[in-house]
């Protein structure tokens, strides 16, 4: 769905979306179900299923704490 949208049509696609709480929950549910059925709900699931989730968590937590980590830089000007 989102991958089929061309880049120029992105604003119109975004305006078409359902931004009600029910719609947002539905979108989150669909996303979760897609990920779950592709990587976890299989007969021989590998390491990639959870490791991608953990890597995403690491990246998101790094982004959230970037304002604190800015002060640990070694050089002031890049």
């Amino acid at each position: 769905m989102l991958l089929d949208v061309k880049l120029g049509q992105l604003p119109t696609w975004l305006a078409m979306r359902d931004f009600t709480p029910g719609g947002i929950v539905g979108a989150l549910r669909r996303g979760y179900d897609r990920y779950y059925n592709k990587y976890i709900n299989v007969k021989k699931g590998g390491l990639g299923g959870i490791s991608m989730l953990l890597a995403g968590y690491v990246v998101v937590s790094y982004i959230w704490s970037y304002s604190h980590l800015k002060h640990d830089r070694h050089r002031k000007y890049h």
């Binding site: 549910r29 979760y32 179900d33 059925n37 592709k38 990587y39 976890i40 709900n41 299989v42 007969k43 021989k44 699931g45 590998g46 390491l47 990639g48 299923g49 490791s51 991608m52 890597a55 790094y62 970037y66 980590l69 800015k70 640990d72 830089r73 070694h74 050089r75 890049h78």
Partner: protein, 252 residues
């Protein structure tokens, strides 16, 4: 937790199935069709999940970049991105980096060494679950098949019932006939006895009359023989006897 709202709607159909079949469905949180048409059997789980390279990046990303940049495109993108983050210090190298490197190395060593063993163990557990479910299903199928066989045999027996009833009807007819003939015989015997009695009565009466008449005739004859006639008859007899004796003497 997220799959709980799915449970009332989709397995309403699953609950209507008999318990052994419902127990055979291992993942009830699958996205089932909401219409009532595609219910059972559920499609089997896919064998392998989506391909992930180095445990972090899905294979689709590499395929996405392949037409434009070939095989090394994503690696160059990764290297360039990494160097940019390091040089601009968007990624800061501090004590946490050292900790992350140690932790990651331990994790990777553990996965490389024991990964296959753990996977085999988990697969064995799954196999056992599937085997028990299959056994239940086969059990149910076998019991239903034996039930079908029994039913067919019962139907065959019902066909034979007609012969049984014919034989029974014959028996009853025979009994009725026998009874009827016995009663006929009884009636005949009774009537014959009555008629014999009448005949015997008549015979007795005639005999009695005859005897009585003979006696009466004899008595009257004896009474009518006077003594005079008796003497005359005796003399006649003696004369006859003498004549006879003479004739006999002559022949001898």
């Amino acid at each position: 937790a997220l799959s709980a709202p799915l449970l009332p709607s989709a397995p309403a159909a699953l609950r209507s199935l008999p318990p052994p079949v419902a127990a055979s469905v291992l993942h009830t949180t699958r996205q089932l069709h909401t219409t009532q048409q595609c219910l059972a059997p559920l499609p089997p789980l896919p064998e392998k999940g989506g391909e992930v390279r180095y445990g972090l990046i899905p294979e689709e990303f590499f395929q996405f970049l392949y037409p434009k940049t070939g095989v090394t495109g994503p690696y160059m993108l990764g290297t360039g991105l990494l160097l940019y983050l390091l040089s601009k210090e968007i990624y800061v190298v501090n004590h946490e980096t050292v900790a992350a490197v140690c932790i990651l190395s331990v994790i990777i060593y553990g996965v490389k060494k024991y990964g296959s063993a753990v996977a085999a163990f988990a697969d064995k557990l799954n196999e056992e679950k599937v085997a028990t479910a299959l056994a239940v299903k086969n059990e149910a199928i076998k019991s239903l098949e034996t039930a079908i066989e029994e039913e067919k045999k019962e139907q065959w027996r019902v066909e034979g019932c007609s012969y049984l009833f014919d034989a029974k009807r014959n028996n009853v007819a025979m009994l009725l006939e026998t009874n009827y003939r016995e009663r006929l015989l009884t009636v005949y015997n009774e009537v014959k006895k009555r008629l014999d009695y009448q005949v015997a009565m008549q015979n007795l009466k005639r005999q009695k009359e005859q005897d009585h008449m003979i006696q009466w005739v004899e008595k009257s004859v004896v009474q009518s023989i006077t003594p005079q006639q008796q003497k005359e008859s005796i003399a006649k007899c003696i004369l006859d006897l003498k004549a006879l004796s003479k004739s006999v003497q002559a022949t001898v």
